[in-house]
Amino acid sequence: MPNTTLGMLRRTVTAALAAALGATTLAACGSSDDGNGGDAEGGPASLTYWTWTPGMDKVADLWNEGPGKKDGISVTVKKQASGDALVTKILTAHRAGKAPDLVQAEYQALPTLVSNDALADVSGEVGDVQGDFAASVWQQVTLGTDAVYALPQDIAPLMFFYREDLFEKHGLDVPETWEQFADTARELKRKAPDLDLTTFSANDSGLFAGLAQQAGAEWWTTEGDTWNVAIDDAATQKVADFWGGLVAEDAVDNQPMYTPAWNKAVNTGKQIAWVSAVWAPGTLTTAAPDTAGKWAMAPLPQWSGGEQVTGSWGGSSTAVTTDSGHKAAAAKFAAWLNTDPEALTALAKESGVYPAATAAQTSGAFAEPPAYFSDQADFYDKAAAIAKTTAPSAWGPNVNVAYSSFNDAFSSAAKDKSDFGAALTTMQDDTVADLKKQGFEVAQ
């Protein structure tokens, strides 16, 4: 929606492919690019970069003026639409052999892109950068293999955002478990029937995936040459039933997020909390400008007390395509962009990117809390600590199909306040049917 552009941009869905991915089978695919950098060593190169990150041109200028100038590698940024539209565009360009050198890709899109042979393995070119990232993040760009298909750029751990003043006014405690979360929602309904703790949004498959990730779901795994789809596994079922129950008893709202109505609800205090990710301050700044400074952030509620686990809602990476004539040069830029302190500071400043690189999360750029949360001085310290607790996640080659099935099935379940479990089964069935139709081996 127009006034939450930033949120839309960042509401890209994060993920990691399961550790269970057959490493041996995949190592073979990765080796095809070995020693095939495709360009004269150290020669000048002019690279094109497709990205939706705002302000990326300024960061690229920093490279063009500095390290890039030395090596004769210049990068031109071509601004793109985010999300599935860009994946389709990359695949179409790749079909014609004309994909740009560098692309931005959401973590969950990587299996799709790799399966279309659009992304190059840059493990030989990026050097030893693995240590700069958390294991659960790094795993997402290797798909559990020896190959490196992209460099992590930003991550988006889930957190709990709430109106501190209204929680106090209604005598509510910040929930530490999901059980307390449900009680808080009911208590608020009792005390102020017009208000909602939050809403369940059937438009936001990424949030649902993140919540399932926290509960321990692994949606796509492999065994040998066979895919196993477990979208309706016990963990996800638990999440679906939890939210379905809250919607059915009217403890939370059932209308989608990112609409003018939702903006108004968070801006006027009709909805007093939001399960969201680290980029929430940016979204709230535009969606709820009148309530700046009244919000606070806490860790996501847990399934069992004493645990500390979170999921993700967003995050993306920088990848080099197989069509690039200058793979080594492109990989060099990608590595600089996502590990160099100067680049990461610029990304934070110009683009509001919350970096995947661990060291940068506590760098000078994140010393101050976001303006919207100016009273919470330790905002980014807390965020960095929460980021460390991100659960691994498991993605497959047709996440897009699962997501559009989620939209339709959960929309009608939320509207009718009917069984979310049935909607989850639809999502599972659609995803399996699509894999089978494409010819994948699917375990039943």
Binding site: C29, P256, D408, Q438, G439
Partner: protein, 307 residues
């Protein structure tokens, strides 16, 4: 001044030479893309193993499999029925209003006719997406000024983005945007009626209402047929309004109309092959329906003439 006539050995080729640019354009920008869509619809992707890495995907001949899939897909049928329901509201209301407005503007003693004409036509100049967004804001209960007024007056506030009223909400956008255009088409053909006809009618003692019913409407029948024809096509292709409103409500699925399903398959799910087959089916149905109507309308007019 006369030139000796040259031998016309090129006469056989000349027409084709003149035709060439048109044919070339037709082939390049019309026949080829359609041909490619048909080609795509007859293929599918076959994945080997885990489907990761080079050479894991292959485009293979699928025969009519994509078509049988499309035709047996319940969602497509439901989408078609939804669009039918939507069209059943839009077309009669829009064309009825357009005709009434045109007749009123054409009536004698109308003041401010040009201004009114422009005011009715103006919504047509607003792009469909903008119109849908604008109305979407007005429909959303918590931000709509209508709801506020209804609430203050103690009247019930219907949720227009839910269930049955959703059809009215969508139809309203189409009627609001399309009436002006259709009115102009009908009005233009009304202005083309020679004054003698009216004079004769007046001498025969025709009331303005009788003139409208017995003279104007029969004479502008071809314009009505034309607007009906355009409206059928526009209805079958409804896409931007429901797509724009979809994020605002739980009641619109990503496959609400057949074209939305094509879009989702091609750009949401990366399956251009199924999408192409569905698109070809939609094109065929549109062709049959719109030309079927045109033919039926023409034969009726001809019958009317011979009678």
């Amino acid at each position: 001044m006369t030139h000796p006539r040259r031998k016309v050995y090129g006469a056989g080729r000349a027409p084709y030479t003149f035709l060439l640019p048109a044919v070339l354009l037709f082939v390049l920008f019309f026949a080829l893309p359609i041909g490619y869509a048909v080609w795509l619809s007859l293929h599918r992707v076959e994945v080997k193993g885990l489907g990761l890495g080079a050479g894991a995907r292959e485009e293979v001949w699928a025969g009519l499999a994509n078509y049988t899939d499309a035709l047996t897909d319940e969602e497509l049928l439901h989408g078609a029925l939804r669009v039918l329901g939507y069209g059943a509201i839009v077309i009669p209301v829009m064309l009825g209003l357009a005709l009434v407005f045109a007749l009123m503007l054409d009536a004698e003693r109308v003041r401010l006719a040009p201004v009114t004409r422009l005011a009715i036509f103006l919504p047509y100049a607003i792009p469909g997406v903008v119109a849908a967004l604008l109305w979407g804001f007005l429909y959303l209960p918590s931000v709509s000024p209508f709801h506020y007024v209804l609430g203050e007056a103690g009247l019930p506030q219907p949720d227009l983005l839910d269930g049955g009223p959703l059809y009215l909400a969508l139809s309203n956008i189409a009627v609001w945007g399309g009436t002006g255009f259709n009115m102009i088409v009908i009005y233009t053909s009304l202005r083309a009626i020679p004054d003698e006809v009216y004079e004769a009618a007046k001498l025969d003692g025709c009331t303005p209402l009788q003139t409208a019913l017995r003279i104007k409407i029969p004479i502008v029948a071809p314009a009505l047929v034309l607007t009906f024809f355009f409206s059928i096509i526009a209805t079958l292709q409804v896409f931007s309004e429901p797509t724009t409103l979809r994020p605002l409500t739980n009641s619109l699925s990503t496959t609400w109309s057949p074209l939305m399903k094509v879009y989702r398959d091609a750009f949401g799910e990366n399956d251009v092959h199924t999408a192409s087959a569905t698109a070809v089916v939609i094109a065929a149905v549109t062709l049959v329906l719109s030309f079927g109507f045109l033919r039926a309308a023409n034969s009726r007019t001809r019958q009317g003439e011979t009678r």
